[in-house]
Symmetry: D2
Subunit: 439 residues, 4 copies
Amino acid sequence: MSAASESTGYLSFESRLKAMLMVEEALARALAQSGVISEEQATAVAEACQADSYDADVLERKGAKAGTPVIPLVRALIANAHSISESASRFVHLGATSQDILDTATVLQLKNAISRISDCLVCIESTFASRVKDNANTPVLGRTLLQAGPPISFGLKLAGWAAAARRARIRIEQAARTSLCLQFGGAVGNLSSLGSAGMDVAQNLANELDLPLPQAPWHTHRDALVNLASSAGILVGSLGKIARDISLHTQGEIAELREPSVSGKGGSSAMPHKRNPVGCMRILAAANRSPALVSSLLSAMPQEHERGLGGWQSEWPSLRDLFSLALEASSEMAEIAQGLEIDSERMRANLDTTNEVVFSERLSTALLPRFGRIEAQERVAELVRQSIEQNRKLSLVAAEDPEVRSVLDSEALDSVFNVFEALGFSSVFIDRLLDAAET
Amino acid sequence: MSAASESTGYLSFESRLKAMLMVEEALARALAQSGVISEEQATAVAEACQADSYDADVLERKGAKAGTPVIPLVRALIANAHSISESASRFVHLGATSQDILDTATVLQLKNAISRISDCLVCIESTFASRVKDNANTPVLGRTLLQAGPPISFGLKLAGWAAAARRARIRIEQAARTSLCLQFGGAVGNLSSLGSAGMDVAQNLANELDLPLPQAPWHTHRDALVNLASSAGILVGSLGKIARDISLHTQGEIAELREPSVSGKGGSSAMPHKRNPVGCMRILAAANRSPALVSSLLSAMPQEHERGLGGWQSEWPSLRDLFSLALEASSEMAEIAQGLEIDSERMRANLDTTNEVVFSERLSTALLPRFGRIEAQERVAELVRQSIEQNRKLSLVAAEDPEVRSVLDSEALDSVFNVFEALGFSSVFIDRLLDAAET
Amino acid sequence: MSAASESTGYLSFESRLKAMLMVEEALARALAQSGVISEEQATAVAEACQADSYDADVLERKGAKAGTPVIPLVRALIANAHSISESASRFVHLGATSQDILDTATVLQLKNAISRISDCLVCIESTFASRVKDNANTPVLGRTLLQAGPPISFGLKLAGWAAAARRARIRIEQAARTSLCLQFGGAVGNLSSLGSAGMDVAQNLANELDLPLPQAPWHTHRDALVNLASSAGILVGSLGKIARDISLHTQGEIAELREPSVSGKGGSSAMPHKRNPVGCMRILAAANRSPALVSSLLSAMPQEHERGLGGWQSEWPSLRDLFSLALEASSEMAEIAQGLEIDSERMRANLDTTNEVVFSERLSTALLPRFGRIEAQERVAELVRQSIEQNRKLSLVAAEDPEVRSVLDSEALDSVFNVFEALGFSSVFIDRLLDAAET
Amino acid sequence: MSAASESTGYLSFESRLKAMLMVEEALARALAQSGVISEEQATAVAEACQADSYDADVLERKGAKAGTPVIPLVRALIANAHSISESASRFVHLGATSQDILDTATVLQLKNAISRISDCLVCIESTFASRVKDNANTPVLGRTLLQAGPPISFGLKLAGWAAAARRARIRIEQAARTSLCLQFGGAVGNLSSLGSAGMDVAQNLANELDLPLPQAPWHTHRDALVNLASSAGILVGSLGKIARDISLHTQGEIAELREPSVSGKGGSSAMPHKRNPVGCMRILAAANRSPALVSSLLSAMPQEHERGLGGWQSEWPSLRDLFSLALEASSEMAEIAQGLEIDSERMRANLDTTNEVVFSERLSTALLPRFGRIEAQERVAELVRQSIEQNRKLSLVAAEDPEVRSVLDSEALDSVFNVFEALGFSSVFIDRLLDAAET
């Protein structure tokens, strides 16, 4: 199943309808466990809750008009239950308010989506991590402000990507643990309409749905949910960072990386020679949309009194789109990671093309104990100018400069221009980044 | 058709598919008019462009993978054309790039949606305007920072709402005129692949689709489109302002307005006595989502070179949702405007409950030529305190104050506390607001 | 110090300059501890790092032009150090890149701001919690979609606010622990310019500044920082929810709460009788601005390679404003909490004004075992209609209805309309919300 | 003056204070013209309105507490006026509400800022336009999805940038004309406190300030202002697009453009060889921040009744930052435009490096009348593969292919691979883009 249809799958109105029915069914069972209704009645309601008895399109349309799909759904559910057991039908939805059903359905849908997102992130992390070792000593130009800088270890770059995927996963899983809990409070959140059975029903309902019972209903306190949404937004942002890097590496003039070749993907309708970074494109498109979705959810937080007017109702489309994007971006990045083509020779060639001017910081640092920062930088800037004008390696130009030679002997100069020494503490950072992955 | 399904109608993938096929068909006709292909070939392609030959779901899924639905669509279109005329099939999509088809399809979809939005705004404006006259002398509490202030004319409030709808309509129509134009530039925007016929084909294509020809392709210059989107966002914001006002007026303790009663709308799943302001709720929900959608489109503007990577591709979902919300909000507000229940007696009762303390600004202004602002306010504040403590009208308390009487005689005092004088230049402003509507 | 100037204090450019100098000083000390420079040199640099030697305005202006204030600062710092010790001046800034200094300065500034925010949140939580007990049995109208619903316990509402403040505090403190760590990686993040001493210097620098050492430099991996920013945005949103509630309760027609009276605050330049909810106003203004600031930070996440072009540089103003708003909102809410005037009599009066129609859900639930949901709701809706028409309490109307009486005896009816029974599990939820506060 | 301090200049609190005093002074003169106060009194108030009599820092701090700076300002102004003329001091601020002063001050500040922004945009447009002619026949790789495509005219790219600057200027100037008008309505927007003189004073005040008189006060109808803000956001987005392009062209491996070299700008604290695209960086940073600021203003639109609680108060910081960014980005881009280094030889070299595979679309289009799109693309894809493998020009490979030769003779093949023919209608588009500039 493609990423697109998959995300639709978890967060579609069809799955929403199923989740709502699952909550209504669990509520009937919980009411029976608490002795409010009979087992037979619960069974009849459960039977009436089979999703294929409901027309999702009709309910979606009526729900838009009514302000919530729960109103037409409960009406349809009562009718269905009535045809099975008149007495059971009287207790459908007992003790619940529309928001109880919708919020808990949201929680169930997000739980499924996040489980799949987690799997993708595990894959991204382990795939990038598995390629670190081979590339730990692969030098590639470091690039700051889109300009060439000293070389870095491509393995460290991979390890950084792996660790970002891990942090994203841990963050969303932690947020899920505190936010994905039952919503059940009745009309104004104090469970009053079930009399003394209220808390017992709530606990049974939580058990039925395998969800934690919160300290209290959270009808207009949305902080935990928005925190979960933020973690999804940050996740997409982190994948966006990786996609930005990869797409820049795949530019024709740079050509250090290529997205995997996948049939039906990345072709151009006008230009047959192209292999477009379509995976990165989709992830970057996701990274462009998700910040605004998070901001919409934050904007909706100041909800009025016991049920918000507009704020609450605006949440679901943003949540749906945000987690769809998170799922899509994770799934695309997992695919990219698994087939990413790394051209270490080209990396070296691009580095060599610079004639070593990217070692200028190392050279000026080496000269600094004698000249101080400013003079050292000025001297090196002059040598760089010569190197560019003469199209010669900076090491050669530097070796001919008497002032440089008065400070640095041949060995010292070799060290300055040694590409592997220039990788610094890359291997230490790699270990720290990947070890953390194991804890 | 309900607001929800209607907005889906204009901006659904089905309508998008139809619009794309309309562009491909028009392109074939334009190529024939320019003599690039024969009339027969154009007719064959046009025949192949009938929307019911295509499976929207399949194309949407394949398109997500390919990075654009145009790639699988053109493939299917060629196959269909081939079965009608092999020679015609060779020229399908000639000279176009995917973005030409998609952007022009977007333009066609938005044109339809905006036409419907305009109709709703005309209705909102004329409906509110039609009720101004009866309410021009209806005093209602002015409320600033959610606190009671001097009375205002409810007619002026209505005229303000009408004028806001008018400005929103004029703004979106103007933006549409400059932004809704043809996109046709080929792979990199210079029409090079059609040889010398390029501009002629472009002009014919524009004519076929009844769209203006832009100065140049706008593949990565999105300013006009984003300006149109902004006008939609502002429109929703203005309707949100009206919905905010109405919803606050409908609070039980205030009860000056009621949303129209519509079957299947505004009931509560738990509380039978309620008549919820569901129309306002949906408009406020729209007003909560639309700012972020506009920001997403603004964020996508810095698109790379001749076709953006991620930015362009992120636009459509935001445009679709934004114009759906604009359509939904306009449609809901038209419904509210037409059935809004205005309780002018309750407005008067709420005003009377304040014991005239809301006339304190008028009183202090009247005292100001004698005492200056600060002393006048302090004196009035003291009188207000007495009025509240004694639960007596401020005019009575003021009339007993010697300092007040030394400045204001009975007639002057009557004038200060005359509710109709307090309406100030309301009728002038009403005329200015509504006259403008006629220009 | 007022909230406004206080937030300026923590996050101003002056405090930023101090923080940058603190990092440069700590770097010199760390270099000495690692044996890279002498103790004397470190002491000289430290001496040159006294903030009053620098002109903040000049550095801010030059920094804007240079692209970062670190460039002119380091230049000025070298000049100052040179006048103390020529040899020391050579080693200023050794091993660091501009981003190391700026990011670590950001971390130090945020640490201070968050410490103050935490204090305010502790105050908000404990203040609201301290008033729960007295209000646990204070009934107030529950309000859903801005319409009156069944009564709730005002104590539970207070406990909900207290718990929201607690969660906000815990969330930002946790986020701070993982995000507020050292940034030190040199030009491209591998610490290569310090040779073998790099990691040792990094650890010493972390110790000097009392900051954790991260797994690796995070120059373009901003997830932890953005997560911290999100937690600030959520915090403001939660306070916005409380401010929204309070401001609605303070409307003149409702008048159940009043903001504390503070001199110089809440007056109107035109209307002397007003006491404006200025604290709520400022918090709601903050809640309006913060979502967009979070979204800006999320948008900036896909930063290029080893140092972003535009993304990174856009972060600071958003962080500064966001944490200023968080500080301001927390400080304002602490002030409101401490002086909030609660009018429980007015709450009761507003409840009584409804003639008990807000008990309709309880009544229909009581009738539901006999009639089922739909019929019960219809019967109750009819009774509510009579109650409103006759302006009589719903309990009286219901008591006269034979069908109702056939199900509910007098005791049962009394129970339905008992306002304290209607509070449901409020006391249980209060205990759960406040107990959690202690863990 | 640098861009940074300049933007501070127009939109600082100091300039805000001046603008507020200018409004108060103009109000006094208008009151005199309408005969409400005497000329002498007006002169005294005007004298009291000299900005250097006020401590901006103190007023800013007190204003934050009071909820608006107008309250402490009016108090100080009265005191100052009192020392000049007791009688004059009584009439300070007469008829106005705080929001009248603040909104009109905002309008005056924005008017100045926009005038300066317009100047910069004129400069950007004319500077880019002036370089079009020399580059109209300069081929450069077209790049779509960051991959090489067929060549384009660099002159057309420049013309596109020039036209974008022009549209941005026209849009913001048009928006300014409808939005930058007087705000004057008194406490609740009906001018009631000035008695019959109200409209006359309003018109005189508008004349004094050289601002249009709106149809009615717009205290809570913010659509025109938000439209102006949107136009600023779009402007920054358009400049962001240009900056994105330039920054990508300046990458070391591409090196087709260089930002101008400006002293004190673009250096690196660690890497002396670098010339960083600091102008682009600042513009891209602006383009990252501005979308969220626009969204904040859109979010604030649903303002309550006659004066919003939170929404209105949140506007100014967003407006200030947005127009500062617009000014900064315009000013930076003007500087870049004037000194942009264009390396047409490198453009040609980069194009040549592709071995003509970027002509593949032209080739497949030429083959299409014979083979149809799909087969033509497959054949060309095969030839491209050979070209890459053999490292030979595509034209040479194609010339040896019998199928190709059966369709295209030498002349036709030459035409396909003629780089100048590949520029298509560039010159036509250039004329259209630049001609429009003159209207």
